[in-house]
Amino acid sequence: MTCRAAVENLVECARRRTGPDPGVRAHLLSCRSCMERWESERLLTAHLRRLSARADGLRSSEWSRQDVRRHFDTVRVRRLPVRAGAWAVAATLLLSAGLIWNSGALHRAGTLPPAGAEVSEEAEPAVEGSAEEGFMAVPFAPPLAEGEMVRVVHRDLQPVELASLGVDVDPAWLAAMQSGSGGGIQAGLPADVLVGADGFPRAVRLSDEPRNEGF
């Protein structure tokens, strides 16, 4: 047996606190350096065990444990609203995307202007809309909360009111409308306004049914 092979076995035997294998034992009798290694390995194992035993039962202080728990609670509390908020934001984004898509569909679908009215190309976006078509999202309106109830209010709106809701009315088209309606349009343009539970308008569409139910 070589010394290298013997030492491999000696280290493991010392760690397990068992005697060396018979072949290694015979080698030890004839090899002084391996015998010394065997003794030092046994001694080392004994000291390492003592060192290990001294650390048994040692752990961090109660303060450290409490601090870790406090931190966990803080992080947990911070995490929960973030999760709920993320759902609310996602729902709002989905709703907004739906409204914007409807608005886009409205633009693409074209318009059915009141009979007899002349509509200029520039005025088209402002006068688009009919009862069958969608709403245009009011720009910069606060997002709807998740599950928030909405209602549709019919109202005659002045051009300035429409402008505040993001709908520009071309003055030329308005003048044509006024002359065509014999002054009836002075009361305002009929519109459907989608209102959130908080009373703020979120979307609007022009309607050809004059009504005034108020907000």
């Binding site: 001694l43 004994a46 290990s52 039962g57 040692l58 752990r59 202080s61 870790v68 931190h71 966990f72």
Partner: protein
């Protein structure tokens, strides 16, 4: 625990903290550093638990990885070892000799190169199997074994210089 279960986190702390503390203690030789390191591992875990991906490895491996990095930071900053008060009763002379020998051994362990030190701490001081140590050290079992054998050879050589006091402690069986 990922859902913020406080009881699960507390249970994990009770189960893992002592091992992490002892690991850090043996690796640094400092009780204060060990407490700080164990504390910081759990603080990092509390912050990252929702992002922890089990597919990338076991939680214990992750925790030991963080502890290993914190030990490196401590040593890079030039951490100074300090005596560890273990409160063991023993006769005065024998106790002094044993304390001296164990202090010498502790110093010798902390002076080992990191790869060897980890092997000694996990396999001999924490009495983990080669397989467990290999998982935590992220290396093959054969590497753990060879590092441990090499480390023990280095320790034995260092302690041989202090042979007389060690022999007085009565560890040798001829």
């Amino acid at each position: 625990m990922r859902q913020g279960d406080r009881a699960a986190f507390a249970e994990l702390y009770e189960r893992r903290e002592p091992g992490l503390y002892r690991y850090a203690l043996h690796m640094t030789g400092s009780a204060a550093a060990a407490e700080e390191i164990a504390h910081d591992v759990f603080i990092q875990l509390a912050s990252a638990v929702s992002r922890f991906d089990e597919a990338r490895g076991a939680l214990e491996g992750w925790m030991f990885g963080v502890a290993r990095n914190l030990v490196r930071v401590f040593r890079r900053k030039g951490g100074v070892e300090e005596p560890v008060d273990c409160g063991v009763d023993h006769d005065i002379l024998g106790g002094l000799i044993e304390d001296e020998n164990l202090a010498a051994l502790r110093r010798a362990v902390t002076e080992l190169p990191e790869a060897y030190r980890v092997a000694v701490v996990l396999c001999d001081l924490e009495e983990r199997s080669y397989e467990e140590a290999a998982r935590l050290m992220e290396c093959p079992v054969g590497t753990v074994r060879s590092r441990l054998h090499r480390a023990r050879g280095l320790l034995a050589a260092k302690l041989r210089k202090r042979a007389a006091p060690i022999e007085m402690s009565g560890g040798i069986v001829r």
